[in-house]
Subunit: 549 residues, 2 copies
């Protein structure tokens, strides 16, 4: 059986556009005389349509286009992802479905059984769980069709499972000879080998070939990296789609693997690609062809600048140096050198005069009160203001250069360096930003080594260093990972790092700065737990008031 | 049977504090020799603890304090809200519970059955639904205990129900002689009469008295207005708790009503109180005792200023006038008059010099490009910057003065007038802001009538009026309500307002400015559908690209 795996980039809400894309790929598949043509989860709608699903006009349009897809279908089954409504005595229920269209009709529908509701997922908000699903029979073959999460509950793979039901186990028990899972699975580092091992295990133990067809694209903070896979009945990967691009492959289910397919890359390579792709998709879908960013001479903005040059092309990046009276000459020189290495035109705008003008206007209120972080924030906010002005004037996307460590402990100025449409490295710890920088420099020195070796500083007052108020980033990032990603208890963290006062301080900071993150730009998720929709804490929680006992 | 209804203000995460509060109220109840003492939903944790529930140390502390509450319990049953864990073959499940502690032990536990997952609710993210619940038998009486949403699925009240199960119907069928519902029910205008009618209907048709014990307080955007009720078996309200304050009442279940209890107020009165309460709670829990805001001379900032004076006291409000070269003399005079009427000290900071200094610094980049919204945004952002500086220096909470109509159509500057810890009237349409102003002026002119009669203007360029680019607020707000709250289709809206081009323009604007709302301050929810966590749309959705056909 020859299966066309169509890894497409569906755009949220663009039903016509997605329909055309599916139609084009399907017609191509027909030319290749395949037996079956497969598209990803919710391929007609894009993932995740969120509250659009609550709009009657949106749902109606989806149903209309389900019908249009049925109409274009010929003898080759067209398997796509969309939605279906059903009524019962209490009202209308929506299902996340895999449809098979053939010979002008929808001849089969599978309703997603396992609906994720953790981290960034809210599927229970929209969908009802499918309870009874049959196998799809075609060409004398029984095919087990499932959707994303449905395959992520294998009792041999997971020590702790989330759900009681296992639709795949059920399909295998009912005699499925081929498994097809259509997906929209958000990327994070470490998910690729996980995904591969799980899928290989399932095909191996069931003795059924497995087709995993996933969406590629990005929805603001979520990156769908592609990498669809076809696995033979021995659990070996026969073919895989590209990462970060639409792709079309044909898999003969009788084929077996004769080569090793490597889907894993180094951490640096993987997240660099993921971030570039995420920025590119965001810019494309919001119509930005230019980017602007502030270059401080530090490592974070240097890395973001390289990402921007990669994504937008050097003629479309506007780096701006915004020195104040506290900026070292080194910082300015380093930033200039970076621009030269990248071949970027840059601008320098001194913020000193504006700063003193603002300070002067505040004098009647501030009188002789001593300087504090207020004045530091003013500098950061003048920079934000100027960058936004350039963004507005030239319709350039402002990239915020903060990293995850800063966001975690509130080492950032709201409406200052936190201004931006997107925070590309907002899910990358400071220590990992250095790894990214070294990756960028792997062939030649693009980021000047001065930037790599100097002590991090916000340069908002004379002689300031990050480590005046924060511990070394190595230890800070260690604590952050344990608390944010591993979700460990305070006690366990103290046991690991051996410093209860430091743990107390850092954990308190993380919790205290929830209000800044609430108004932060979206960050591209590249870790299992990113700040944003997948992490939900109240800004006024009093939990840390006395929870260190 | 005498029941003490304890309407308390539990603080999220403050387990010790909430424990002490429950203990104090319980001891008071003991002195009154009641038979049963009732507390709201999740009274030990606060509502909503969100991802704190994913922390082992947090859950463990809850369990410890469940035990401590058991230990302080005497012969009078203590009914409180907390959580419980259960293990099965796939792992740990958490339940939202009503516990009865008595004589040193937990003697009964009810697990919430209906878990809301729409609008602002995400309970399915955290809790499993209780399936089998028995009645609580005490003093030869069968008591049906339930939690919030459990009572909101009555088939005689709702034409369209959300759930198949109806735990209350089940309890009545099983012979419940008394119904107790413990709640944490977020306020919006119109919910009070709904709630009252529903509860009255249920007690009337079951012939069982009903105690409705709800939380009072606010969690950032969500306001819990209190108003616990005791209803006799004929469906009449016997007693009710205060709104917006902790309260303690004793209800004798044999009592019947002999007076009419009015819980409804005018729209203006209700939402004015709700907003003041929301601001006050936010300030209290974040430690702000002062407020700062920018006074433009317009209606929005005037109303917010009155709210601030009410909440913080006149000596703790810092209104700042920030005129530019485009500010009319009238605006400044009107703002000053407002301050005088309220007895507030104010400051005036001219932003003109700062504006020209910023413009000068941008000249090398902007060259001779024509002025556009960039320059308007710069003015707004200088104001935001100065207000944030004052907020930082004096530790005063910055109130953002935007209304719902502006937020909807993006008529606001990100990092400019959108700066703030909270947007008190961000869920109030412009036309309703006028109603609030008239309510504030009901006894005497506090908001100068000049402010009430002049045409709304952002005053960011000469002679600018809101209605240069927006339709009249009457018609704008009508469209907004139909689209945002009623969730009507484009076609239906056109049918009602009779102007397809206008509908197209406004709907496109609402969808296009999702990115601004993503970084907006939290708004206090006073309508059934507020911007914020209860409304989830992707910033990059392409739905409106071609969905007007």
């Amino acid at each position: 059986m020859k299966i066309a795996v169509c890894q497409i980039n569906s755009v949220i809400g663009d039903i016509e556009g997605n329909f055309k894309k599916i139609k084009n790929f399907y017609e191509k598949a027909l030319q290749f005389r395949v037996d079956l043509c497969v598209f990803p989860e919710l391929s007609l709608l894009g993932y995740n349509p969120q509250d659009l699903l609550e709009k009657k006009e949106f749902r109606r349009k989806c149903f209309d286009y389900n019908e249009k897809l049925a109409q274009i279908s010929r003898e080759v089954p067209l398997l796509f992802g969309s939605i279906m409504e059903e009524n019962d005595e209490i009202g209308i229920h929506l299902y996340n479905c895999a449809f098979v269209a053939r010979d002008g009709k929808i001849e089969y529908a599978y309703k997603k059984v396992l609906l994720p509701y953790y981290d960034v997922f809210d599927e229970v908000r929209y969908f009802k769980s499918g309870k009874e699903n049959s196998l799809y029979e075609f060409n004398y073959k029984k095919i087990g069709i499932s959707i994303c999460e449905d395959i992520w509950n294998d009792k041999d793979y997971f020590k702790m499972r989330r759900y009681h039901a296992d639709p795949i186990e059920e399909q295998i028990k009912n005699g499925a000879e081929l498994l097809i899972n259509i997906s929209a699975s958000p990327y994070y580092y470490g998910k690729r080998p996980e995904r591969m091992e799980l899928l290989r295990l399932i095909s191996k133990k069931s003795g059924a070939p497995l087709v995993y067809c996933s969406l590629v694209g990005a929805n603001v903070d979520l990156i769908f990296d592609g990498g669809s896979m076809c696995i033979d009945k021995f659990g070996e990967i026969v073919k895989a789609c590209k990462f970060y691009d639409e792709d079309f492959i044909i898999f003969d289910t009788d084929e077996t693997s004769n080569q090793e397919i490597i889907i894993e890359r180094t951490f640096e390579e993987e997240i660099y690609e993921a971030i570039c792709f995420g920025v590119k998709q965001y810019a494309k879908q919001t119509g930005f062809s230019k980017a602007v960013l502030g270059l401080s001479g530090g490592i974070d903005s240097a890395v973001v600048c390289c990402i921007a040059a990669n994504v937008f092309g050097k003629e479309n990046v506007m780096p701006v140096l915004l020195p104040s009276m506290y900026s070292s000459k080194g910082s300015v020189d380093d930033a200039i050198k970076l621009c030269e290495n990248l071949g970027l035109k840059f601008n320098i705008i001194q913020i000193t005069d504006s700063y003193y003008e603002i300070i002067k206007s505040l004098k009647p209120i501030f009188k002789n009160l001593p300087e504090d972080t207020t004045e530091e924030n003013i500098q950061s906010r003048i920079r934000g203001l100027i960058l936004m002005a350039i963004s507005n004037k030239f319709n350039a996307m402002l990239l915020s250069c903060g990293n995850k460590s800063e966001l975690a402990v509130g080492y950032a100025t709201l409406y200052g360096d936190m201004c931006g449409a997107l925070e590309p490295i907002g899910d990358v710890y400071k220590t990992d930003v250095y790894r990214l920088a070294n990756y960028i420099n792997r062939k030649e020195e693009i980021i000047p080594k001065e930037i790599l070796v100097k002590a991090p500083s916000a340069e908002l007052k004379p002689g300031q260093k990050d480590q005046d108020t924060l511990p070394d980033y190595e230890i800070l990032d260690k604590i952050l990972k344990l608390y944010i990603e591993k979700n460990l208890d305070y006690k366990d963290i103290v046991e690991i790092i051996g410093d209860s006062e430091l743990a107390k301080k850092i954990l308190s900071m993380i919790d205290a700065y929830e209000f800044k993150r609430k108004q932060a730009p979206p960050v591209l998720k590249v870790s299992p737990k990113a700040f944003g929709t997948g992490r939900r804490f109240s800004m006024i929680s009093q939990w840390r008031k006395n929870s260190f006992t």
